[in-house]
Symmetry: C2
Subunit: 197 residues, 2 copies
């Protein structure tokens, strides 16, 4: 109610959405505000009625994605499922986001390096914290003998980056379905963790 959520909000939303698509294709640095404006359907100068700078657009994309994953992690940690089920939920969420929210997630994952301080450090810290929470979950699973003995930080590294591989699936011409991809990937990644004795 405080801010009118009418046209102004949706135009900013459109800018962020178009920006995500363009940043993914060309990269942040190679995308010009003029190209973005054209895609949005206004003049470059008019962009600045909705956003303050090019940097701010990148910040909005990166931190929206970071918040999304942090909040999901909160939910999972607060749930009462067993450890391997929690991890499965997290992996599934990553896969689904990489499929359904591809542009934003990709940009957040690959272009966050172009963030300026202090946002860069903030983002890196959030990222590190998220991975530590994930690794802790795996450690707990190992302690409870639900998960095979392995180096948890390395496993997190592998799992998260493996999911990033969905990018190649998006670029692939002869795609299997998203549903199939999700199941194939989940099966393999869960098998990385599951004890088989």
């Amino acid at each position: 109610m405080a801010k009118t959520p009418g046209k102004k909000a949706s135009k900013k939303g459109l800018i962020l959405q178009k920006a995500a698509t363009m940043f993914r294709h060309r990269g942040f640095s190679a995308t010009s505000m003029r190209d973005l404006a054209e895609e949005v359907g206004i003049e470059a100068a008019s962009l600045y009625n909705h956003i303050n700078s090019k940097q701010e657009i990148l910040e909005a994309i990166c931190f929206e994605v970071a918040n999304l994953f942090n909040e999901h992690m909160d939910q999972v940690e607060a749930s009462s499922a067993n450890t391997i089920a929690k991890i499965e939920r997290i992996i599934r969420f990553h896969i689904q986001q990489m499929i359904d929210n591809y542009e934003q997630v990709f940009v957040s994952d690959r272009e966050w390096r172009r963030l300026e301080e202090p946002y860069l450090s903030n983002f890196q810290t959030q990222r590190r914290t998220y991975r530590k929470r994930f690794a802790s979950l795996i450690e707990k699973g190992i302690d409870k003998k639900e998960i095979r003995s392995l180096d948890a930080p390395t496993a997190v590294l592998i799992i998260l980056h493996a999911i990033g591989g969905i990018e190649s699936w998006h670029r692939s011409s002869q795609k299997i379905s998203a549903r199939e991809l999700e199941e194939n990937m989940l099966t393999i990644l869960i098998d990385v963790l599951r004890k088989n004795d």
Copy 2:
């Protein structure tokens, strides 16, 4: 003997090496020829005595890496090891290259998108072909019951991107040793494939 390999060759080598480091940090688009020149220790204009364009530098880096991996794949395919040993060799090579030849491999892996045609298509084709060869090896292992039944293209996707996760290790402050990382990662990735019945 044909080309004198003295100062001219090593200066070009220096340019490529410095460029790889800068492209990794700032990205191809955000790296200026002036910044690169300063790093090399000459004026921007002097760069053009050794290379023809900024694009050409990126091409040199990307295709050198592509050739390296293709040639390794040739060797492995020609060898007489069993399938799982061949795959282990390939994975180990990827891990080692990602550790020892990090700047170049990273740039080739992340910045190839900035390549212009016809190099872009050429690179993409090489990449696709390499992955198909890798997937074929996995398929063969499945047929020979050396490898568990899984979707080979998805497994390749996971393995290759998982290894890309070594990037996070490079950025990490509290590093385990390269040797440990290699073993942790290899163990986990081979366990993805190995039958355990």
